[in-house]
């Protein structure tokens, strides 16, 4: 009994060490962002004594993070709105309006999950160039919608499948068309799922770098993550400013995580337990 209890505390020690190793890298970076260049070169490890905003301001203004931030907001906002709209419409149709080919379409969506972006990126760049969408906001938005729609449809379809048919039938008897049912019943009922999926889609789009690099290559169109990669070359000798840029890019994501922790974890596991 005693050895078992000892073993539990050894494990707890191990897991606490690991938890520290999980948190430390971000703390180190935040700490570096507070130092002056001189302080960082002399001693990068000691905890900062002052909470200094200079580097953050420098990264935000001179390094252009403010503009990249706005670019990311525009693109992610546009993509998430379209994903939720198209995803919930398709999810409703696939779960409640059985029609010829609906099963095939749903399986097609599942198959879409297995087409990684790297496989379609070369022809996609060609197509986008041909229709004049390359290096435009709508082009990147469409690329994100195409990338994350299969996942969105899959989760919305599973959510709506759990809603009894009677609710749809009752609303139909009240004289609603199917569009009315979608707007007045399915959208409000679906809000919890839309929120979870929306948060996850927003994280995917916000964090992406490959699609943004290919679809919006010019410097003034950089999203925040592409901006961070550019920062590295620009400020290789000014680590505190570089670290500040990284922190600026990480803070919105960490805030979203703190607020929506449970939802994110639930949405991640939804696919695994339904199988």
């Amino acid at each position: 009994m005693r050895t078992a209890r000892l073993g539990r505390w050894v494990l707890a020690l191990l897991m606490t060490t690991l938890a520290l190793a999980t948190v430390y890298p971000l703390l180190f970076t935040a700490n570096a962002a507070m130092k002056t260049r001189r302080e960082y070169i002399l001693d990068r490890f000691s905890a900062t004594t002052t909470l200094r905003g200079d580097n953050i301001a420098n990264a935000w203004n001179s390094a252009g993070m403010a503009g990249y931030f706005v670019n990311s907001l525009i693109v992610v906002g546009g993509a998430v709105i379209l994903l939720l709209l198209f995803g919930s419409m398709a999810g409703f149709a696939l779960s409640h309006l059985k029609f010829r080919g609906s099963r095939t379409l749903f399986l097609g969506c599942l198959a879409g999950l297995f087409i990684p972006f790297q496989v379609i990126m070369v022809p996609l760049v060609r197509t986008m160039t041909a229709v004049g969408l390359i290096d435009t906001y709508p082009g990147l938005v469409v690329a994100y919608v195409a990338q994350f729609l299969p996942f969105t449809i899959y989760l919305m379809t599973s959510y709506y499948s759990a809603i009894p048919k009677d609710i749809v039938d009752a609303a139909r008897l009240d004289g609603n068309s199917f569009y009315g049912v979608y707007r007045r019943i399915m959208l409000p009922i679906g809000l919890p799922a839309l929120l979870s999926v929306g948060v996850l889609d927003a994280l995917f789009c916000w964090n992406d770098v490959l699609i943004a690099l290919l679809m919006m290559p010019s410097a003034e169109h950089r999203t925040l993550m592409v901006g961070v990669t550019a920062l590295r070359g620009q400020y290789s000798s000014d680590i505190p400013t570089f670290a500040s840029g990284v922190i600026i890019a990480a803070v919105p994501v960490l805030a979203v995580y703190l607020v929506f922790q449970r939802r994110i974890a639930d949405a991640v596991t939804a696919g695994s337990t339904k199988g």
Binding site: C109, P123, R232, S272
Partner: protein
């Protein structure tokens, strides 16, 4: 099936159209920007680059791939990913087991471990560039225990393992949460029985947890493999650019180099098609698992 079809046809035309109208936007986006490019890409991989743009070259691009040392490194590295896969699955699996067995502090670990999973690979890579620099914190830690410093990203022998290690650091929380969801479906009476029989931790894992969670474990294997094959671009782009000496090149990075830097889109398409075939094998494995577990239910 037949009665439903009949009911279907009795519905007014507008009602029958509704389903198609609701699904149309999604279908158009997926066909135009996902399925069509996939077909286009495969077709494109059999044509030439540069002067030969649009001319059929048969399997020319594929034979060039096989002779390109960088692509061979990329394939060899896929082999390494397969070798490292069990490690990437075992770490979250073990940690989830400890949390499930209510190690002191178990409530806290879940949310702490998960948080790197929401960070972009770009942010993770940038942070680790600082930590893994030659005079950085990790080497300082090694020095404190009397070990020689390691050139984590600059040595072609260690760079791939370093990047994969960082990838595991960033994503193990995701798999951990999936494992914990699986544990929630485990029959608690089995565990209690095993415990009152005095089973050790290893016996518990071997005889109760692994058989009980076979479906979750398989799911994590597949999703982790997909992650290793398709989610490493950001890390590679920020941390190594595929180097040193091409040693961290993976197929997805090779496609990017040929498309974005070398202006060889047709060759890139051929590499994409090879990556797609690798993914197809993984995906078919997934479907086979789902089929089997579907029968078990």
């Amino acid at each position: 099936m037949t009665p439903r079809r009949a009911a279907d046809d009795r519905r007014p035309l507008g009602d029958r159209l509704a389903a198609y109208v609701l699904i149309a936007p999604a279908a158009v986006v997926l066909v135009v920007f996902r399925l069509w490019p996939l077909l286009l890409g495969v077709d494109f991989s059999f044509t030439g680059d540069g002067d030969q743009d649009g001319t059929p070259v048969g399997f020319g691009n594929y034979s060039e791939l096989l002779h390109d040392p960088y692509f061979r490194i990329a394939l060899r590295n896929v082999g390494w990913l397969v070798v490292l896969l069990p490690v990437a699955v075992a770490i979250p699996g073990l940690l989830a087991t400890f949390i499930f067995l209510k190690v002191p502090g178990h409530r806290l670990y879940r949310s702490v471990y998960f948080f790197p999973a929401v960070l972009s690979p770009v942010i993770v890579g940038s942070i680790f560039n600082l930590l893994l620099s030659y005079d950085g914190p990790l080497n300082k830690l090694l020095a404190a225990v009397g070990m020689a410093p390691v050139d984590w990203l600059g040595d072609s022998k260690t760079a791939l393992f370093t990047v994969v290690g960082v990838h595991i650091w960033a994503t193990f929380g995701m798999a951990l949460v999936v494992f914990l969801a699986g544990f929630a479906t485990l029959d608690p009476s089995l565990l209690d029985a095993a415990r009152s029989d005095g089973a050790s931790l290893v016996q518990l894992i071997r005889h109760v947890i692994v058989p009980g969670l076979s479906r979750t474990i398989q799911f994590v294997f597949v999703t982790t493999m997909i992650g290793l094959l398709t989610s490493m671009f950001g890390l590679l782009y920020v941390m190594t650019s595929g180097g040193p000496g091409g040693s961290t090149t993976l197929p997805e990075y090779y496609v990017w180099i040929q498309q974005g830097q070398m202006n060889r889109p047709a060759l890139a398409s051929a590499a994409s098609t090879v990556l797609f075939l690798i993914m197809l094998v993984v995906g078919l494995g997934q479907i086979a698992i789902l089929r089997r577990s579907g029968r078990e239910d």
